[in-house]
């Protein structure tokens, strides 16, 4: 009987950890969403699939390609810090890529995807999936394709960044939040 209680006590601890793990993820992201600085990133959405988390819009960022200054080199797959600043139109752009954590300003942790001889690198940014309703994701991609054929694209995401953590906030098509855009289309 005593063994049962010990096991039960240990299991209760485990159960608390199991509940705490997702809750801490939620809390950290909520903090970033409330207090983080907001950036916009131009993107191209395409629609793939994840068995556990459903359909998402994979985002490809024009700003993820960076020219490194002479003498700075990174290895393929290296973890780096990308300092983000706003350009004249208010869109986020990568100002600097460093191996050490920046002391100030907004930054994200990224990974070097590839590099070229002219010292251009492409970064994998920590926000490249926008999960969507299974029924809506393909429609969003289709809508984007139609739009981009007719007019200049105005597709971007808003991202909140705080202390190196980035949380995707909203996907905009044609300057409108995706849900609003799709509602108008219907």
């Amino acid at each position: 009987m005593r063994k049962t209680y010990y096991t039960l006590a240990l299991f209760s601890c485990l159960a608390l950890v199991q509940i705490a793990a997702p809750l801490s993820t939620i809390a950290r992201r909520e903090l970033v969403l409330r207090h983080g600085e907001q950036f916009r990133f131009r993107t191209e959405p395409i629609d793939p699939y994840d068995a556990f988390r459903g359909r998402y819009v994979a985002l490809q960022f024009e700003q993820a390609e960076v020219a490194l200054p002479d003498g700075v080199r990174f290895k393929w797959d290296q973890k780096v810090f990308a300092r983000i600043e706003k350009d004249s139109q208010g869109f986020g752009r990568i100002a600097e890529v460093t191996a050490e954590r920046p002391r100030e300003g907004a930054y994200v942790v990224a990974q070097v995807r590839w590099r070229r001889r002219d010292n251009m690198i492409r970064l994998d940014l920590p926000f490249d999936r926008y999960y969507m309703d299974e029924a809506v994701a393909p429609v969003a991609e289709e809508a984007y394709r139609e739009r981009s054929l007719r007019a200049p694209r105005d597709t971007y995401v808003t991202v909140r960044i705080k202390d190196g953590m980035a949380v995707l906030e909203e996907l905009y098509l044609d300057g409108k939040p995706i849900s609003e855009f799709l509602a108008e289309r219907k």
Partner: protein, 497 residues
């Protein structure tokens, strides 16, 4: 005495007809029951099924049948029911858990973030309550333990997945983080609840995790300390019943995951280093370890069937397939000879665990080979000797690649040494397996030997890397040798017609 000899003869005939030449134990049960009494429930069940038939056929009198029944005691008929219950509860829990994951993955539009948090935690909390209840009230029930633990394992995945969906977590190491947190949160269930299904999911999960981490050039070698977590559970299962369903399932998972994990975690030193044929030494050692460890007698009462010996089967299969690959000259050709091959970053301290692991696999293989040799279990060494051959091949290959002062022709000819060696090896292996099968009347063994021989013959017949003359002569010599051995065998038995 005479009737005993006749019974013996009949039982051998019967067992040969059933293709179970090795199962002298089975008939031993009928011949010397006292020694085997109560030991082997499978045969006791078989006997209890047979008795009514024997009585109705007039072979046994009813009293004799009753006496036999009394002698062996009641047959455990509840086992099948318990087994069915466990399997049903596991699959029920699996289906419901996966269904919840899919429903949440639909990503219902218009659900607010607080509602999503509740939705994420709800299945997990329900599953936790079920597991808690099982610990308190159904501790001895395997179906409850396995079922609830399976459900909780999947509910954890659903919770993490829904949270990461809600906040669009993504980025380079997102999938590996997801898998690792899922695995670490669920693996304690293996010990707290005493369930094996979470251990199976854990093994598959950490193997997939290692793959994702390796593709991001991360420290996939951590797979091994993670895998060690399962070892005590595996050990307990072996002690409980070495050929039970749970032991067998975990053994299958191990024999699938370990070869994959070796390939993933040792990728750099095997495939990117200056010694590419090290791969063959490491893999041959690994398969030898699986084969020899799986062949060890564990003192089980029942004779295990083939599918109950996954380590042995995977090991043997791996050895044969690997040897077959190594019979091709192209495998040993030093085509990377003029490339820039250096240890480079592989000299860094970060790779010490990789070398330690490779050395450990080799060391365990050698230890098992030596102990098998000392016990004079020579039949097992037929398969177990492959790491030694692979090591010889590796040395020859290394000379071919690195001795740049040697002329190219010479190194190509050097590559013939391991090629011929492995062709001979597989030939001997195929013939020996076939003969062993014929001797014991084991049809699967005869078939396995024949498949090896046929594959070898076909591969060499169509092998464009060797000259037609060499192949022609080799085939004819081989044919003559086959016929000659056949003739000698028949002569020795005095049955030539």
């Amino acid at each position: 005495m005479v009737s005993g000899a006749r019974a013996n003869e009949r039982s051998v005939r019967l067992s040969a007809a059933r293709g179970e030449g090795n199962n002298a134990r089975q008939w031993g049960l009928l011949m010397s029951p006292r020694a085997e009494r109560g030991a082997d429930s499978r045969y006791a069940r078989w006997l209890s099924d047979q008795l009514p038939i024997l009585v109705s056929a007039g072979v046994l009198s009813e009293e004799a049948a009753e006496r036999l029944c009394d002698y062996y005691g009641p047959v455990d008929t509840g086992r099948k029911r318990r087994f069915a219950l466990t399997v049903c509860s596991i699959f029920g829990a699996l289906s419901i858990g996966l269904g919840i994951i899919l429903l949440l993955a639909h990503n219902w539009e218009g659900i607010s973030r607080p509602v999503r948090v509740v939705l994420a935690l709800l299945p997990m909390v329900v599953a936790q309550a079920l597991v808690g209840w099982t610990i308190m009230r159904r501790r001895d029930s395997l179906p409850w333990r396995e079922g609830t633990a399976t459900f909780l394992t999947l509910a954890i995945a659903a919770a993490i997945a829904l949270v990461s969906q809600t906040y669009h977590t993504s980025g380079p190491s997102d999938m590996s983080n997801f898998l690792l947190s899922w695995m670490l949160l669920s693996v304690p269930l293996v010990y707290l609840v005493g369930a094996t299904v979470p251990a199976l999911i854990y093994l598959a999960g950490i193997t997939a995790w290692a793959g994702y981490v390796q593709s991001d050039a991360g420290p996939s070698i951590i797979f091994w300390p993670l895998a060690l977590v399962i070892v005590p559970h595996f050990w307990l299962l072996i002690k409980e019943n070495p050929h039970g369903i749970r032991t067998t399932a975990l053994s299958w998972a191990l024999s699938v995951c370990l070869p994959i994990a070796v390939g993933i975690t040792l990728w750099e030193i095997m495939f990117e280093g200056p010694l590419p044929s090290l791969t063959f030494v490491v893999y041959s050692s690994l398969f030898t370890v699986l084969y020899l460890a799986g062949s060890a007698e564990l003192g089980a009462a029942e004779q295990p069937s083939r599918w109950q010996r996954p380590l042995q089967m995977t090991g043997a299969g791996g050895i044969v397939v690997l040897s077959f690959i190594l019979t091709f000259w192209g495998t040993w050709e030093p085509y990377v000879r003029h490339r820039d091959l250096s240890w480079g970053q592989l000299r860094e301290a970060a790779f010490i665990p990789h070398y330690v692991l490779a050395a450990a696999i080799l060391g365990v293989a050698l230890w098992l080979i030596i102990s098998t040799a000392l016990r004079r279990q020579t039949a097992r060494l037929f398969l177990g000797i492959i790491p030694v051959l692979a090591a010889v091949g590796c040395v020859v290959h290394a000379i071919g690649i690195h001795a740049t002062s040697l002329p190219d022709d010479m190194t190509k000819r050097l590559a013939l040494i391991p090629t011929i060696m492995f062709n001979m090896y597989l030939l001997v292996l195929g013939v020996a397996t076939m003969l062993a099968g014929t001797r014991t009347g084991s049809i699967p063994k005869i078939n396995a030997g024949m498949i090896v021989l046929i594959a070898l013959l076909v591969a060499r017949f169509f092998d464009s890397e060797m000259s037609f003359t060499a192949r022609g002569v080799a085939f004819i010599v081989l044919g003559i040798w086959f016929l000659a051995t056949n003739l000698v065998f028949i002569r020795r038995r005095g049955e030539v017609r």
